[in-house]
Amino acid sequence: MTNKTKISLENVSISYGESEAVKNVYLKIPAGKVTAFIGPSGCGKSTILRSINRMNDLIEKCSLKGRVLYEGQDLYSPNIDPIEVRRKIGMVFQQPNPFPKSIYENIAFGARVNGYKGNMDELVERALRKAAVWDECKDKLKESGCSLSGGQQQRLCIARTIAIEPDVILMDEPCSALDPISTLKIEETMHQLKKSYTIVIVTHNMQQALRVSDITAFYNAEVASGKSGGKIGYLVESNDTEKLFNNPDQKETKDYISGKFG
């Protein structure tokens, strides 16, 4: 299988106002694979993830240096429309956030904003099936999305993202609010999804990274040299998941992984 690069970050540094959050990240995210981001809290995993579909634009004072390339196009060049970016690169958040509408409408919303003209019923079913919630939802499509359980809500949110037919799906700790069974279901969903999408997932759960990802990127943070004394995140290494967990190139990675496991 050829490893085509879908997204590449070139010397990306992101700051919130004065304080730098992550610096000098070089990363290649291959197409059609699951890439996991791991690392201690506050090292900038979410920040990097959000930069990939320009959700950081919504945070004031957040600025980015470097280049984020999606199939060779610089996502931050002035002629790029962030709306188009987010349609190609969908995002699933840590907290399930279904819209206070019916389950059907939750899915149809994304499809409609993207100008989907086909058979909506079919699309809704297809998206729910892909996200592995169809069986639980099929009899209550007219009920509120908020009436589902947390795990079902999260899968509904995944279905909603699938319905916009993106190319890449970003997931920020999608299972952190879920029980082990829902987590397993979502992981199964990911295995299905990677056949058609490129997936990037942030997780605090090493086993999860091992189970679902092909590539793992490990971030860490160091105390900043500047006056602020805050921490700055950086990418330590990214490698095939097998290799990163069994035989990492960096000692730092090894310490982190063994610390967590041992």
Binding site: M91, Q95, F99, F109, G110, V113, T161, I164
Partner: protein
Amino acid sequence: MIKKEKNKLNKLDYNIRLSRNICNKLLTYTIIVFSLISIIPLLLVLIYVLIKGGSQLNIDLFLLEPQPPGSQTGSAGGIGNAIIGTIIITAIASLIAVPIGVGGGIYLAEYSKGGFFSKFIRFGTNVLAGVPSIIAGVFIYAVVVVTKVIIGSSFSGVAGGMALSILMLPMVIKTTDEGLKLVSDDLRKGALGLGATMYTTIVEITLPHAFKSIATGIVLGLARAAGETAPLIFTALFSYYHISSFNDIFYEMSSLSVLIYNFALEPYSAQNQLAWAASFILIFIVLILNIFSRLFSRRKSY
């Protein structure tokens, strides 16, 4: 006061003679008394107006035009035109205040970045909310009535509606702003993360979610506007006649509040009676609007 004994047995019984418990009880009762006192004026007003005005309810009251004092019939007529007038003037007021207010609220909550401009607007809104209603009346009097800018009409229902819209505006802006700010940011991010535009996100996700509080604000604003007298004396003035065509909104128009003001001061008891009846109807309308707003705020959304 009994001195607190050292409690060796760890007894947890409630001791009424402890000074903190006495104090607590005392304050509780005081507060109950005060809150009873505070609703007494409301009850008295309601009862008084009900007795004075409620007794005169009949069909004619709702249909007839009021008669000037001292007319030969001896009867003061009805308040039909004043009821219609109040409805028309408040409708005009909300036609102006709702789009501007909801738009302003959307700007403040969704688009503004908390900079100088939005702080200025929020401050201005608060000041506007505190502007005495008579000032709103005088302002429209000077700007619209005297200058006759609206197709040459001076005192008119439209001018009255404009004056009342000034009073409604801050209420609508504030409730829209606050209602939208209560909508969880997760929902916004969810929609934007799917590639929805700001416009779609606001129209389809955040506004419907905030609908209850916005509707409540509008209805309370209406209730406030409907009862105002001073601004109308300067703008809509009064008329003894039913409106007969659309063009009549550009002429003097009667309203319940101005009718009360005019007739309550007349030395004729027939007119005084009519003022009481109008008071009853006005309170009834305001009450209904308030109940409406309660229903809105209780309506369950998903």
